[in-house]
């Protein structure tokens, strides 16, 4: 009942999930698998080569963060870095206080450790975000108490692309600490989604810890970075051979680390140009959707400086996200949804819900996240089929949200 394309075009619009490895990154990694495979801890030559690569990579990453190489800890993933930031800090500083501050739209890699700590008697304040998914710096500072030891707020949200005012929070926090003559609370940001397009200068952001990973910036999966400001004490989660200044034991994943450094170098050098290009794509798609599909709603901030350039999250009223995904998949188009049906928990997106979006709106959301391989032709191909898919599913659907309730959400 739907048009069949003559040739299926593979269109990947899910770069917030993961990115393909850049060819240049892959080349940078290759020598360290079979050829120069030494353990950086070994003293003989191949060990020294590996150790050299490790140092070079650390320097490159540190350079982009405006940090010192010794403050870069390589880990096994963004999730591990997030867990290390939360558990490592709480374990090291619990004597000072047992209060944490965060926001409800964090990635689960932060959210679940926080919920776990709550069960262990920690007090966690989730500062509310507004309907665009943005937190106010003022509200964050207002939540600080004498027993707050850590604030953890993501740099940019993976689902709706909202960019949090990290630098502003950081500045206000410096002021707070000065006024109260205390090093607390420390400030961590999960910058996994931001690393490809925003500045990671920790001196300008005033963060004490920062998480990034390889799999979102055209680098390999299974490698992450935790930046830890000098002088900040943290407890390691993984004990063993004492690698990474005893903070993260385990033989270093040299090829992945080399790839991570190369990937970060490439995306950071190219970020202005690529951000402009991706923003145009997002804008182009959103204009087309508004023109060709009735009853849609943009979730998250307006396209502009408060939103990741590559992210477009749209609710198609009266239809369900997983059904849309499956239809799109038939045409080779890949994106994601906030619908409950695709989540492990069978709960719709906690991000959209925390932004005050009713369940039925979360169920009908699609997230398109653009990246290097995407072009205008991809958007045109998508829009050749999306309007008719939405129309078909709406015909099957008994729901007419736009005509009934939640008038305040109407576009």
């Amino acid at each position: 009942m739907l048009p069949k394309p003559k040739k299926i075009r593979e269109v990947y619009m899910d770069h917030a999930a993961t990115t393909p490895v850049d060819g240049r990154v892959f080349s940078a990694m290759k020598p360290y698998f079979s050829e120069k495979f030494g353990n950086p801890s070994s003293l003989y030559q191949s060990g020294r080569i590996a150790s050299g690569v490790l140092n070079d990579s650390r320097r490159i990453v540190a350079g982009h963060l405006h940090a010192l190489p010794e403050n870069i800890i390589f880990t096994g993933s963004g999730t591990e870095s997030d867990n290390m930031a939360v558990y490592g800090m709480t374990r090291a500083h619990e004597k000072h206080g047992k209060h944490l501050i965060s926001i409800a739209i964090e990635h689960h890699a932060v959210l679940y450790p926080l919920e776990d700590l709550k069960k262990q008697g920690w007090d966690v304040t989730f500062v509310p975000v507004n309907r665009q998914g943005l937190v106010s710096a003022q509200d964050v500072i207002k939540a600080v108490r004498p027993d707050t030891i850590l604030i953890t707020i993501m740099y940019a949200n993976n689902e709706v692309g909202s960019i949090q005012p990290i630098a502003e929070i950081g500045r206000k926090l410096l002021q707070y600490r000065k006024e109260h003559n205390t090093p607390y609370p420390y400030f961590h940001t999960d910058a996994c989604q931001a690393a490809g397009s925003l500045s990671l200068d920790v001196e300008k952001l005033h963060v004490d810890l920062m998480t990034i990973n390889g799999g979102k910036i055209y680098g390999p999966k299974g490698v992450g970075v935790l930046y830890l400001r000098r002088g900040v004490a943290i407890k390691p989660l993984i004990l063993g051979g004492g690698q990474e200044r005893r903070l993260r034991s385990g033989t270093e994943n040299v090829p992945a680390i080399a790839g991570m450094a190369k990937a970060l170098d490439l995306v950071q050098k190219d970020k202005e140009k690529e951000t402009g290009r991706l923003r145009q794509l997002s804008e182009y798609l959103w204009q087309k959707i508004q023109r060709e599909i009735p009853d849609v709603r943009l979730n998250g901030p307006e396209i502009g400086e408060n939103r990741l350039a590559n992210n477009l999250n749209v609710t198609f009223m009266d239809v369900e996200g997983e059904a849309l995904l499956l239809y799109l998949d038939e045409y080779g188009i890949m994106c994601s949804t906030g619908s409950a049906c695709t989540s492990e928990s069978l709960e719709p997106s906690h991000v959209l819900r925390s932004m005050g979006l009713p369940y039925e709106y979360a169920h009908g959301s699609l997230r398109f996240s653009f990246g290097h391989p995407n072009s205008k032709q991809d958007v045109d191909y998508l829009m050749k089929y999306l309007p008719v898919i939405v129309k078909t599913l709406r015909e099957i659907s008994p729901v007419r949200l736009a005509k009934t309730k939640h008038a305040q959400f109407k576009k």
């Binding site: 009942m1 009266d318 239809v319 049906c341 369940y359 169920h363 015909e395």
Partner: protein, 226 residues
């Protein structure tokens, strides 16, 4: 959240989860066929023309699924001559309704007596199974059918035959129904803990917790949603 309760081995046919090669589909070929080529759904503009004497609506888009079923029941034979449906939901919900409509219509129509005996498992079997966590999507068809048949009884004045819906036992050990949970939510219970305190649910049968949580959400949205 624990897995839904229907066991794979109760289903005929394979329960297809994505294959390791990435080529396989999340669902069986039958599900796929019904999803992409849904049968007997109510087309735009058909509402005015389609003759029916029974209509049932269940679920809510807030829960992620909503379904409407229209039946044309022959009063003499009590067979379902024709039916139409509309479903808001994921692939499995749409396919389940489509396959149900086929089951109702085939062999010159199912008797409503037999239709009322249909179980979600029967729909699942016809679909060649669903992934475990999708099984709840097929439950709605069975409820919509019940609601539609009740509507028929109402319209034909056979009030004695109406099967009272909405008092489904959720926790078998403590004999707690969805009505009890609705009442608890209306009394201000917002979380599982609140409801458990009021009703002691979940204490008797831990496997009922997911269903209870779903009901709490549903009623909270219904009565307190924006």
């Amino acid at each position: 959240m624990p897995k839904k309760s229907v066991k794979k081995k109760n289903l005929s046919g394979p329960v297809d989860i994505r294959t390791g090669t990435g080529e396989g589909w999340l669902y069986s070929d039958i599900v796929k066929d019904h999803f992409f080529n849904p049968r007997n759904f109510m087309h735009y503009g058909e509402e005015e023309k389609f003759r029916y004497n029974a209509m049932g609506r269940v679920g809510s888009p807030a829960c992620g699924d909503e379904m409407v079923l229209w039946l044309d029941i022959d009063k003499k034979t009590e067979k379902i001559k024709d039916c139409r449906w509309r479903t808001f939901g994921c692939g499995s919900a749409i396919a389940s309704t489509s396959v149900l409509s086929e089951m109702l219509k085939e062999k010159d129509g199912m008797k409503i007596e037999d239709a009322l005996k249909l179980k979600p498992q029967d729909i699942l079997a016809r679909l060649g199974g669903l992934p475990e966590r999708k099984v709840h999507c097929s439950v709605l068809g069975d409820k919509a059918l019940q609601a539609a048949v009740n509507d028929y009884f109402r319209r034909t004045g056979q009030h004695g035959r109406i099967v009272t819906a909405g008092s489904k036992v959720i926790d078998k050990t403590l004999n707690i129904t969805d009505h009890d949970i609705e009442e608890a939510v209306l009394e201000g219970a917002q979380t599982l803990e609140d409801v458990q305190k009021k009703l002691k649910v979940g204490a008797g049968d831990p496997s009922s917790i997911p269903a209870i949580e779903e009901l709490i959400r549903f009623y909270a949205e219904k009565y307190y949603g924006e």
